[in-house]
Amino acid sequence: MMMPSQKKSHYILGGAIWFVGWLAMFLFDGHFDSSNLAMLLVLTSALAAVCLPWRVSLCLVIVCVLAFDWYFISPRGTFTVDFHQHALMLLVMLVVNLIIMILMVVRRGQAERAARHASEADILRQWSDTLLESSAPHEHLEELQNLLAQVSHREVALFVLKNELPAQDDLQQVWQLGDAGIEQRLALWYSTRNNQQLGRGTGRYEMFFDVYLPLRARGRAVGAALIKNFEIHELSTRIHLQAICDQFGNALERYRLHRQEINTREHAQAQLVRNNLLAAISHDYRTPLATIMSAASSLDEQTEKLDGAQHHQLARRIFDEAERLNIMTNNILQLARLDANNRITCDWQSAEEIVGDLTRRWRGRNLERRLQIQCQPALPLLWCDAVLIGQLLENLVDNALKYSPVDAPVKIQITLQSNYFLFAVSDNGQGIDLRWRDKIFEPFQRGPVTDDGTPIIGAGVGLALCRVIALAHGGELSVDCPAEGGSRFELHLPLRSLPENTTILTKNSGEIA
């Protein structure tokens, strides 16, 4: 399509060619005979036809042939022709000019079509690139609207389904861009549901002034576009518009399928994790339950044969194992809680206090004699969730007690390093094989197995929880097995400086040593 300014310059150029042609004919008049001048006329009209529209060229050719007859063919000043050869020459000139014109028109039409196809292909390619580069096609709705408007030179409204096609027309389920009246919305829904073009020139609902194009994707539509006041003869433009719509439809469909695939995979993965976790938990629960059950049934069925001490011992065993189940339950609950929302309630805490509370709990289980606590004096306060850090240490200590010989001590050291707190829990157990060291922190790993292949019931969920807690505090949990034997778990927690007013408090009151 030509711009007006281009058209104007073409007219000027065409006029100039004719002017020069006539000037030359008048100049050469008398030097050459009229048949030679006629050749000049043919040349001029051929050149002018290149730049002028065919209707103008046709008129000019007829006028100029008559004018040539008037000026140059004797008798001059009349349209009558003396000689037969002159008449023939004029006729040939007219025919040749017309043929040139027709050729020019055909050629120019071809060129224009080629240019339009090229520009359409270019638009489609760019649009396709945009959609391919985008991670979410529905973020390009406005671009689609602008592009359709630009190509059609019409006002455009868009209707795109947010998800699957709803059973009933529901405006909540679509993104709508641009204005559409009630009837237009109905037509958009119809086009989307039936995956069909509607309106002028489409063969359906011809009485509409507008045309509706579905955004097609694999045999269905993900929405529709409304092109207002579209003309029936603009078939090629409509095909182009439909291609743009289809590209979008396909891109959106691809995106949705991709999302769906990811969701399915994640769901399957979550299912697998959950199943493994449940299996691990049930397995871990069964051991204390077995002890409880046998001790309780022994108390129930062998009452007369048991002496007082045995009685007490069995009851104690039930109590201990119930306590173990309780710890395991707390671990699982805490893991689920931290998994759901990683929120922890931090406050200024004293490391000594956290360990002190821990010792008290172990004393309840008569195990405190195995604990050796070394706490560096005058430690600064720690910014953490005391309950969680307490639970973490409890798990580490529980593990250490379980994996080391019955009377071997378990050491807890708390020291201040250059820029972090170090909590270390070490035991004299058999240590942990190198290939297990990373795996023991995964939720359903269960430590090494004994020689006959039965697993030593281990941390199960416990160590996984420990690591989650450490990470939630911006810290780290690692395990090391020193050459002298046993294993040593290290928890690093970041150091934070106390709020300003504490130093003021210290200075003013002088109460804190």
């Binding site: 109590f319 119930a322 309780n326 707390n330 609950l333 309630t345 406050d347 200024w348 805490q349 004293s350 000594e352 206090e353 956290i354 360990v355 002190g356 509370d357 010792t359 008290r360 405190e368 606590i373 706490c375 306060l381 969730d385 005391a386 309950v387 307490g390 106390l498 709020p499 007013n501 504490t502 408090l505 009151s509 109460e511 804190i512 040593a513």
Partner: protein
Amino acid sequence: MNFNVLLVEDDRELRVTLRDALLLEGYKLITAASLSEGLAITAHSSGAGKSLDLILLDLGLPDGDGETLLAELRKQVTTPVIVISAREQEGQKIRLLDLGADDYLVKPFGIGELLARMRVALRHKGISVTASITHFKRAGVSIDLAAHRVERNGEQVHLTPTEFNLLARLVRSAGRVVTHRQLLADVWGAEYLDHTHYLRLYMAQLRAKLEVDSADPVLLLTEPGVGYRLADDE
């Protein structure tokens, strides 16, 4: 020991077990299995003069939350309430204590622990905070609040005024948990409620002066995430 105890617990097994254990200890038991039953009994008892001495309250009841009963109860009477619940969120514990519960126990718990908490609650019964547990003695430490005197193994311990106030607040509630909020408000003032680091630092000072091993305290006990508890008087 003729204390009337109301036990509100919907789980039959636990209710029966606790009832039998408490009957063995000589308590008189009234049991309720639902919130409405509990409310009816408390309303009836406060009207009819046959008063309750202690209430053991479960939270997750079939027809509502035990918290409702606690709130209802605290409108009129000061009967000690010990909450027994499977919920172990610290925020919940603090809310219950601030709402007027005397103590809480997280399920599962041992009967020994329950009996100890009950003894403490009964001793505090009818005693308002300002009156008058003024003497405390345990693990070689003796405290006389009226005389401002703290001794350890017969030797006087010097405390700063703030340390003494903090200790005094715990002595008045000996055996019971006191939340961080309560301590900060009573010792420092309401505007210091979020200054928990004061509490940590002073508690460390107190432990250094009163405990044998401050990393293994026997007097000044920590209730993680909730508050502190001075071990019960000997």
